[in-house]
Symmetry: C2
Subunit: 468 residues, 2 copies
Amino acid sequence: MDRIDSVLNALPQDLVTRDPDITARYLTDFRKYLTGATRAVLRPRTREDVALIVRLCAEHGVPLVPQAGNTSYCAAATPSAAGDELVVSLERLNAIRELDAANLSLTAEAGCVLSVLQEAADAAGLLLPLDLGSRQSCQIGGNLSTNAGGVSVLKYGMARDLVLGLEAVLPDGTLLEVLQPLRKNNTGYDVKQLLLGAEGTLGIITAVSLKLVRKPVQTVTAFLAISQIAALTTILGEAQAYTGENITSFEYVSDHSLKLLLAAKPEARHPLSEASAHYVLLEAQTASPVFPLEDAVSALLERLMEAGLVTDGTLAAGGAQRDALWELREHIPEAEVAFGGSIKHDVSVRTSRLPAFIEAASALVETHSQGGRLSIYGHVGDGNVHFNVLAPEGAVASDYKAWFEREVAARIYDLAVEMGGSYSAEYGIGLVKKGLMARYGSPEKTALMRAVKAAVDPQGIMNPGKVV
Amino acid sequence: MDRIDSVLNALPQDLVTRDPDITARYLTDFRKYLTGATRAVLRPRTREDVALIVRLCAEHGVPLVPQAGNTSYCAAATPSAAGDELVVSLERLNAIRELDAANLSLTAEAGCVLSVLQEAADAAGLLLPLDLGSRQSCQIGGNLSTNAGGVSVLKYGMARDLVLGLEAVLPDGTLLEVLQPLRKNNTGYDVKQLLLGAEGTLGIITAVSLKLVRKPVQTVTAFLAISQIAALTTILGEAQAYTGENITSFEYVSDHSLKLLLAAKPEARHPLSEASAHYVLLEAQTASPVFPLEDAVSALLERLMEAGLVTDGTLAAGGAQRDALWELREHIPEAEVAFGGSIKHDVSVRTSRLPAFIEAASALVETHSQGGRLSIYGHVGDGNVHFNVLAPEGAVASDYKAWFEREVAARIYDLAVEMGGSYSAEYGIGLVKKGLMARYGSPEKTALMRAVKAAVDPQGIMNPGKVV
């Protein structure tokens, strides 16, 4: 009997799934970069189950790979192909433990699907201000383990910023409970920060207490045409000033991306009468019933048009129009897939440098990509742009992507880093970006990460090979 | 030549202050709990100076105590009485390196006084939304090392939440640079979180990049009388709803505290015509020029008075009136000192449980304190209350305090912890609260803290004896 059998035999068998037809769906990452192997997927129902699993794995030196919604863009939750790791799926650990409306907090288990938590908050007249495209399938444990970003970061921050408390199982099977939903709690090191963004390499998050906010009672959504990308920073500043920093989303869409989308989705319509090189999808929200939000955004648009910063714009007149505008932004990734998929560069720079980055990076692609097609969009209010490139028409997409990754991609990352930016704004590291971390990561930071990893997980059994 | 001499002799002598007349002011903590000793205070001018100091101390195994503004309430920056530790004052590392207005960021060195940074932001038409009573003397490195709270946490979060980037010297003298002012940067563990709130036990923060926000152009300040403390939570909720979560401060003042203040400061005036058991100082701010903030707060007051939740209230009609209202809140600690000083309990619970905590804790004092006088105030919008007790009139304050700390204080902390709260909301641990951490801290958390400390500072030279 080998070490893995020792673990599997010691577990209650209803937690163990060995059927390869079932385990298959846990083995390929969302972007289909790679497919791993495993002897079993473990599906705990309680935090005690998780602690038992980890304790047994620690005892027998068996590595494990925590997995939530399996929507990582960096294969952070995919086991190795060697089949020597067990997958721990948190999907059955999915109870909402408590919603304390007066405390504006929600305590839920790691396997809760994000949209389920959003709905629970909504039903209580509140808002969980974490939102991203994969909301229907991603799970909160994964959102926190990767410090997810998304479309509301501008106003509400990253996933990390929404965490009041955390419960996790450490690599030796210890249950760590710092779950109280407190806004102030300076009692020693804030150890929950270790688990947030660690992509499962320092333990398994089992539950979390999240900040809620009051539900917006007014939403104004606008789609603006911009002639000069240099104006983006000014427009953002003016929008924040006019609305009292109530801009929740400030999303850039390049004309390239909009054209792709309109080609891929014939039912979608261009929201403006004329094409422009650049667009912004802007959303403002407030929980106040008395602030004239729509007037403020209208006045803003007028001012921006008078100043020549915006050439055209439309305000959504209701929920259906709002949804249509958001589809233009959120379905771009699907449109890219319809045209063979894209090479993604999830980079960030200061918001003050973003227009210059987009221009310079576009010029690099123009010069070096042998006809690659740009698709640029993203959360530019946070300095985060998804700078993507599609194969030229007629090229074999997979061949082109491999060539581009080898010959061109480094130029784009080099540029972002030279401009003081990041080579991974919100996707994280996982397996896929480890090469980038080796190239751009500060050696001092990496050494500190390794020291922490060795201290917390001395056997190296938690999600081995990822991040560190 | 002993180890300390080896360090001191190897340093440029202009960094070394040995004159006891000068070093004396670094040796007593702000609350005057204790006075330490040192052979020298080191005062680096650059981050390279800091790295050199730490490298030499690491080489010779000499412990050191980082000190910024020396305003800790827990003696977190006071050396031991044995004189075997060197004090490193960051006060000369006080350059503002950069203010990037379009990126809403400010990069400054650890020794900058908070108010200086606030003024720099203000001069750029922006706001640094970290604010606390000691703003004129505390330094930003200390604010971050203790994860300071203060009077703007409700809207803007704790000091930790305002940090975009950090530069620090690790316990082996390594300079760690993760200083880029980026809002999104998921590139491995967020190592800056380790230093934030670690009270100097894991390294010395040398510089920080902070988030700024747009400067409010409207401020409305109100002072409300509340008959039932149970109404606090409802009033906070209504205020947030009406103003679209633009309440920046929601400070509780008990009638006990207001009476103390009025007795200690004859020039201060009661802002309302009749006394009440409880008051709230509420401030709303917005950067929007078009939102009718004062109308919203007036409508809120009307509604709260109609509902009987608020019995009386006044709105500040200008800067001078606003300042007068704030003095009623901010000078309470001084008033306590004028009456012999207070035993402070800096506790937090969920905002939903705060009224119940205040009632139950007050009853405990009533029953057990042999006539102690209550002074309760604080940042109740964040669930944080300063639950303070003064000696009975006529008692010898120091004797009473010692008796109270021994016989009664634990009852109050017990209650806070039993209610799911914290025994140190914003003051931290330092030396003074280590006993509380031993009593209430989770053993699993403490073990994890120790593992991290041992990994990052294996020699234990950074601020020994504090926190862990």
